[in-house]
């Protein structure tokens, strides 16, 4: 191929040739599997020489009748609701705290951010230790305060909260850096003007700072929602969805059905639910977010 043409801008095949290698991989591992998932969800599993056959919506009706699916979906919703506002609020708080002169600011910022670069598997191992029934740090602290200990991950009523706490700890520092950058780009004369007007800090935050942070919040929100449905590493390490499906999340259930029970067509049907959720987020982002702030 001769790509040395002088007027490349008007030579469409050069553009395509440059895009093609990436396009092939994107097609093979994102677009094709997304469509194949839809296709497979209408078929039965091929078993022992018996080929897969078209079964229409059977996998979907199985899904509607599957209480574990509904529980996973509900847990995932609670997981998102538990993780997202808390980590965003913490991220804003952290950013505000380290955006001003502070003794040891570098160390403070580092401890907020450090969980971001750790693997979720590693993080989950450490937190498993913290939540451990007798010797865990949390129970030791509680019992030294005279509060009754608890088997945090072993009880259905606290298992989901436990894995939620881990996700908050992991994500808040990551989101913080975006707020910090936004705060540093904020015009200083705004604060001065507010000071002259005698505005209280609380008022100033809600009327000036928070609205100005809105583009950042939307960006972080999209990330947080995607993460809430994409990250299940800590579930695998900490609870395996248990006890009694109390911490079962959608992707983890898909993984179990697909790779433990090899019911891949049912897993495909549930994957469609996940794809619809993520697709909705994508469309929402296209519609809501201001294109200029997002695409420069």
């Amino acid at each position: 191929m001769n790509k040395a043409a002088s007027d490349d801008l008007d030579l469409p095949w050069v553009g395509w040739a440059l895009f093609l290698p990436a396009a092939l991989f994107l097609a093979a591992f994102t677009y094709y599997p997304a469509l194949a998932t839809l296709f497979e969800s209408f078929f039965s599993n091929a078993k022992g020489g018996r080929p897969a056959r078209f079964i229409g919506l059977d996998n979907y009706s199985t899904m509607i009748d599957d209480p574990i699916f509904w529980q996973a979906l509900q847990n995932n919703a609670w997981f998102a609701v538990g993780t997202i506002p808390a980590s965003i609020a913490l991220a804003i708080g952290m950013a505000l705290l380290v955006n001003r002169a502070l003794p040891g600011r570098a160390i403070v910022r580092m401890s907020y951010f450090a969980p971001t670069i750790l693997a979720m598997v590693a993080v989950a191992n450490i937190w498993l230790f913290i939540f451990a029934p007798q010797i865990g740090l949390l129970n030791q602290v509680l019992s030294s305060l005279g509060i009754a200990t608890h088997n945090w991950l072993g009880q259905p009523d606290t298992a989901l909260a436990g894995v939620t706490a881990v996700a908050i700890w992991k994500e808040a520092g990551f989101f913080m850096i975006f707020y910090l950058a936004a705060l540093q780009n904020m015009p200083a004369n705004l604060a001065e003007a507010a000071a002259i007007e005698g505005a209280s800090r609380w008022y100033y935050f809600w009327k000036v700072t928070f609205p100005l942070l809105m583009p950042t919040t939307l960006f972080v929100l999209v990330n947080a929602v995607v993460n809430a449905f994409r990250l299940v590493d800590h579930i695998i390490v900490m609870t395996k969805g248990g006890p009694n499906n109390a911490s079962m999340l959608l992707l983890y259930y898909i993984y179990e059905i697909g790779f433990k029970y090899w019911d891949t067509s049912y897993a495909a049907a549930m994957s469609m639910v996940l794809l619809v959720i993520l697709g909705t987020v994508a469309i929402g982002q296209f519609l809501i977010l201001d294109r200029r702030t997002h695409y420069r």
Binding site: W13, F29, A119
Partner: protein, 273 residues
């Protein structure tokens, strides 16, 4: 209280709050560090027991960690080499070329930011099985070779480079690839650093997909090896597990401590698009 009346007392309160939160945030990691350097009998309660390296020695000998390290190293190297190459080419196409279907293609590329290979595990497993690549390092990396994030990042970067530089190179007779290599790539060095750090961190830490697609020591990366080790016979020995966990995270943690600013800047640059 007004914004100006930032009293010394209030500053003190905020400093204390910042430090308390920092301590709370650092606690899990400090606790793991403490446990890893103490014998398991001592690690279940905080005390001034002697520091020991025996946990690390045990872990290194008890599981094939050297192989896991090598696998992870090969994996992240493979991924960033391919991602850099493909994203540079495609980013250039979207930044400087007109081609039919460009806008539609760009929207499709952006869609991958949401619909990631991480959630397409069933079909991607099937594909790699059909290619006969299950239980190879290539199979772990392949779904991530085409990176919407990388293409987008390089497009934005190349768009900000003056078109005149491109024209000048071409007038001197440089072709498309040479222009890309001599004009665009050198000017994008900080972006490659940022992209590289984010990508290496992501794939060093990635777990679910490598877990699914590998089934032997020869291909397993650190994360999967760590999980298999931790859920094995050593079950409850927290000192051993802490040592293994820190060992697997050590290269990234050390790099982070040394190049803190670059890490934060990279994640920031990569996020704000």
């Amino acid at each position: 209280m007004s914004v100006a009346a930032d009293s010394a007392f209030q500053r003190l309160l905020e400093t204390i709050a910042a430090w308390m939160l920092a301590l709370l945030w650092a606690m899990p990691l400090l606790y793991a560090l403490w446990a890893a350097f103490h014998l398991s009998g001592d690690s279940s309660h905080l005390s001034f027991a002697p520091v020991t390296l025996s946990n690390f020695r045990y872990v290194w000998g008890a599981a094939p960690f050297p192989t896991y390290f090598l696998n992870t190293f090969l994996l992240v190297t493979l991924i960033i080499v391919v991602q850099f190459t493909l994203s540079t080419l495609a980013g250039y196409a979207f930044a400087r070329f007109r081609f039919p279907g460009k806008n539609l293609m760009f929207v499709l590329v952006l869609l991958q930011l949401m619909i990631m290979p991480d959630v397409l595990i069933i079909e991607n497993y099937r594909t790699l099985n059909a290619l006969g690549l299950i239980d190879t390092i290539v199979a772990i990396g392949m779904p991530y070779f085409g990176s919407a994030f990388g293409i987008f990042l390089m497009r934005q970067t190349f768009k900000s480079i003056p078109k005149e530089l491109d024209d000048a190179a071409r007038i001197e007779g440089a072709g498309t690839l040479l222009t890309l290599l001599k004009v665009y790539v050198p000017l994008a060095k900080p972006v490659y650093l940022a992209y590289g750090l984010v990508s290496v961190t992501y794939h060093w830490n990635n777990f679910l997909w490598p877990l699914i697609v590998t089934n032997s020591v020869s291909a397993r990366p650190l994360t999967v090896g760590l999980q298999i080790f931790s859920s094995g016979d050593q079950g409850i020995d927290w000192s051993i597990i802490s040592a293994a966990t820190l060992l697997s995270a050590a290269p990234l943690l050390v790099a982070f401590l040394l190049f803190q600013r670059q890490f934060v800047q990279s994640f920031l640059r990569a996020g704000i698009r």
